[in-house]
Symmetry: C2
Subunit: 135 residues, 2 copies
């Protein structure tokens, strides 16, 4: 969510990293993907999102929605009824982004086990024994 991207004045290989960050800064947020996924299925209302994206607070939902809207990933449609009705829809650009994420999803699935094991191994090794052996 932080927009302070210092991709300027970066040279060489790190320039690649910056471009990646541009994308990550938009979906890196804890809730962005969840919202995007929900909105990709079709227009979705505020309260629906609140239910579908489990664990999100009202505040974060609003904030994330605003950011996604600002970046042109969501379109917000307000029906001037009472009580009010607001629908969020994923833009074509967002759908493309979603498609791009499947590669990442595939990677995560492919290596899920390996990562879990790597962590276990690391934690085993670095078990932080302050007691180094009491004879």
């Amino acid at each position: 969510m932080s927009q302070g991207n210092s991709c300027v004045s970066v040279v060489g290989q790190q320039a690649r990293a910056c471009t990646v960050r541009e994308a990550l800064d938009r979906v890196g947020g804890k809730w962005s993907v969840g919202i995007l996924v929900a909105a990709s299925q079709g227009p979705v209302r505020f309260t629906e999102l609140e239910r579908q994206v489990e664990g999100i607070s009202r505040r974060m939902l609003t904030l994330t929605l605003r950011n996604l809207e600002r970046d042109g990933l969501l379109h917000r449609r307000v029906y001037p009824t009472v009580p009010p009705k607001v629908e969020y829809t994923a833009t074509p650009m967002a759908l493309e982004l979603y498609e791009s994420l499947v590669t990442l999803t595939a990677w995560a699935e492919r290596h899920r086990a390996a990562i879990t094991e790597a962590r276990a191994a690391y934690d085993r090794e670095h078990a932080d024994w302050t007691g180094s052996r009491a004879d």
Copy 2:
């Protein structure tokens, strides 16, 4: 960097979002990608990283390295010399991840202009005029 991933007990479409998050949680950090990119070129030392990943602090470099190592994305090799020498190398899994990120990079490049414009438009519209027109 936060490991508190609540991918459990989530149903339906949101399960997809969770898998994506698994991947994002590993590269979502502000510095992960920068380090990964640098390490993908071959073994790289601590101080080299500190220079190549511009703007990173010593603390964050250490922390991010530890996380990447723990997830099995980096291999850490220590040479018992004096002064000490430590080399970080991207694992095959990390290289695959890097490959997966190019899709995202492509997306970012493709829509960079559109996003910038979307933001400008949004900011223009929500310029927070408390003064609604003084005719």
